[in-house]
Symmetry: C3
């Protein structure tokens, strides 16, 4: 890690140093394990004990803390500031290693001078790579693929023909981009006739895609992941899905064909969305939720089929007591019968 003076780091996050301004920082670690020369962070002002006991040389703290017995940097959001500073400390100039001798590059490709292509990579024909692209070992790229500057493909990734990735995209191992969408017509005998899948996948800038996630190409047109969206591991993105900017798609989510999401949508782990529906900006779906219909801006839902999350939380609480409720209803029916009998007498 680099050695950086505290003033520079504080400036990066618009923080105010209270204590020794002349420290140099060469590491970043959690508050319990950080040592001399390292920086750390405290998210909640109501847990002061770690702040007293840490051996870190400087601590990012929320504004509600005015000073401490050690050097602190007061910031609006210590969690955010920690991400920015840790990333800054880790940053290294791109060291281009070029194309490894065992990589296989097709015809008419455009490769800039600043790339790192690992052993056993296979690249098709007419592929364009941006500056400082890194491609991990065993990754396979089809024909006519475009990849923007500073994008990183890890090991054993597969990108199929014609797909387009933007800048600063990170693709983790085992990801498949551009496999055929799941589309069939049924003939008179009940056989499934494959529909050609001739669209592509388009991934915009600053997208991250988790390990073994699959993104199918469009039947026609594009399956499109817009800028800043972060997808976790083992997610399934079907043909013609569109995901808006800065959305979060947590692990094992499934999005069926032609579904569209607005911006800043959050889908919890294992959530799923039916095909051909639209979730508007800022929609949140709780983990394991199953959405079957369009949802308006800002809707927060849970359960399968998904309903407003508060209603769902109340309903599941009653669900657990259903056996008692069934007994109550049975008893009530007896009571009514008895009352009627008495009344009749």
């Amino acid at each position: 890690m680099r050695k950086v003076d505290l003033k520079t780091l504080a400036r990066l996050v618009e923080g105010e140093i209270v204590g020794d301004c002349d420290i140099e920082i060469h590491g970043f670690a959690p508050i319990e394990t950080a040592g001399e020369g390292e920086m750390t962070f405290l998210v909640k002002a109501n847990r002061l004990e770690p702040l007293l006991n840490t051996k870190a040389s400087a601590v990012l703290v929320p504004l509600s803390i005015e000073k401490a017995e050690r050097t602190v940097v007061r910031v609006r959001d210590p969690y955010l500031a920690s991400a920015i500073i840790h990333t800054y400390l880790l940053a290294e100039p791109f060291a281009a290693e070029g194309v490894h001798a065992t990589a296989d590059i097709g015809k008419d490709c455009v490769l800039p001078d600043q790339v790192t292509i690992a052993p056993k990579v296979v690249i098709g024909d007419r592929v364009h790579l941006g500056q400082r692209v890194m491609i991990g070992a065993g990754t396979v790229i089809g024909n006519d693929v475009e990849i923007g500057d500073d994008t990183i493909l890890k090991a054993n990734v597969t990108i199929e023909n014609g797909c387009r990735l933007g800048k600063r995209v990170i693709v983790h191992p085992g990801v498949v981009i551009g496999s055929d969408g799941y589309g069939y017509a049924v003939d008179e005998k009940g056989c499934h006739i494959k529909r050609p899948q001739v669209g592509i996948v388009r991934i915009d800038d600053d997208v991250e895609i988790g390990a073994n996630t699959c993104i199918d190409r469009a039947t026609y047109g594009v399956t499109w992941i817009k800028s800043g969206t972060k997808i976790d591991n083992l997610a399934q993105i079907a043909h013609n899905v569109v995901i808006g900017e800065n959305s979060l798609i947590v692990a094992q989510v499934g999005l069926a064909g032609s579904t569209t999401l607005g911006r800043n949508v959050v889908l919890g782990g294992k959530a799923s969305v039916k095909g051909h529906v639209h979730l508007d900006d800022g929609v949140m779906v709780a983990a394991c939720g199953g959405v079957h219909q369009n949802l308006p801006k800002g809707a927060v839902v849970g359960g399968a089929p998904a309903i407003p999350v508060r209603q769902w939380a109340k309903a599941v609480a009653v669900f657990a007591k259903l056996p008692e409720m069934a007994r109550d209803v049975k008893q009530l029916r007896k009571d009514i019968k008895e009352i009627r009998k008495i009344n009749e007498e």
Copy 2:
């Protein structure tokens, strides 16, 4: 794409041309984007506007449309016809590229003259490949594997020892066929002792398997996917599962060990089926459904545990109102108490 005269295309789908019979078609696209020389299709007769506005040279229409201001081809099922014609237009004669210099082929393999084996493919010993087989870059095939004519394995696929694939099978990137089933015995100390998994996987003709799907080998005997079945991405098929002909297994489905499906079964996305049960021909399970028991021919179920889908639809509607119902029941108990009190007075 090829250039084909309209009469040939109409004959392929038993369609009747109304309009100009002498057109040549060289492309296929959706009705909104199709241009001159391209063909398209209209599924529903009640949406005529796109038919009026399209720039396509010919439109596949349902029989309920008798004529239009442009050339149409009347067919029983325009969706099916579009799949057949689009596929026909895209078809190209197989151009064998042979075995790439960087592929690694084992001993005693049988390779026909017409194959395309991409860079970095690794093939074990005694492997038999059919005519016109295509194997994508980075794919690994174990020993004693058999692969039928016209089968396509995309990139980074793994087929383990002894598995058998039929003709015209399509296997998408990252698929694993023939990994060990998940089977253990427990010893006195609570340790899990691995049971040998010595069976194979058998995939019949015309099966398609989506990206990163896993199909485990049988403990003994075969895990068997029968002809015409289409499996989507990220599905889990456990050891000794048997899937009947022409079934549809949508993304992220999980089938536990020794479960058997009849023909034309449809499992919606993320559905799961317990081990050792049988779903008979034509069973349908709604997305996210969880099946815990045998299901008879034609059963349509939803929910987890799955119940008949209509019953499930009604039950989930009540579920959302459970908090109100709980309040009602509470109120009813109060009412009864009050009535009794009055009656006693």
Copy 3:
């Protein structure tokens, strides 16, 4: 398979031979298909027909069977004994094939003389391999990885920088170990800022990991799978998860960040656990269950959100009848109204 005399096999499982002690066994198969010279097993004493009809030369039976018309080996747990004996019969001495000419090994690695490294393997710098390690074709190992004796990595696996695997670990194809955890901070504009993920994954002895499963590295520290735990296919293990000894994690399970499991925990297929909770020793979660809170030792739960499994079983039974119950409650309200009216008259 090896040829072994029955006495040796019986001794392995502390079994008592009743019948011919001098047989030699050269195979193991299910009771229906086993033939001459092969051994088999019968789990349940109440199904005697297969025991009468089998052509196997010897049968492992439970202690409740005292003798039979053929040679039997009486053991406490025939299922466990079958795993031990079948494994023994299959065992072969390790035949080191060395490093394949097309494998790519980095700088300063420590490779013992007894290893088998398949074609197209890529290994980074400073990697340490134990004795008798086998690495399948197309597998990629990052820098500074340590792998213990007798560990097997199948084909197309990815192990990222710094991860540590113990002895006798089995990793199936397509597994990704050490990909970045899913961690972001949000800035003022709603953009997600990646938090560096600088921890590792540690896998202890005798762990097995199913095809295409993903285990993310820790943000700081370790994501840790303890000894004897068996993970099925397509599971998602997030950053900083800790799984105790001898646990079973069935296919498509999802564990969110920083969750910890005790020993001998069993998570059924597709179960999921929220982040930052603890499931104590021996907890069992039914298939598809969703756990949202800490669970004490031995808890057995089902449903999502998960509740005690018996309560859940009763609640789902009532759930299916909710429409009738809603009708009943409506009727009860009418009845009360009517009774009150009569009372008032």
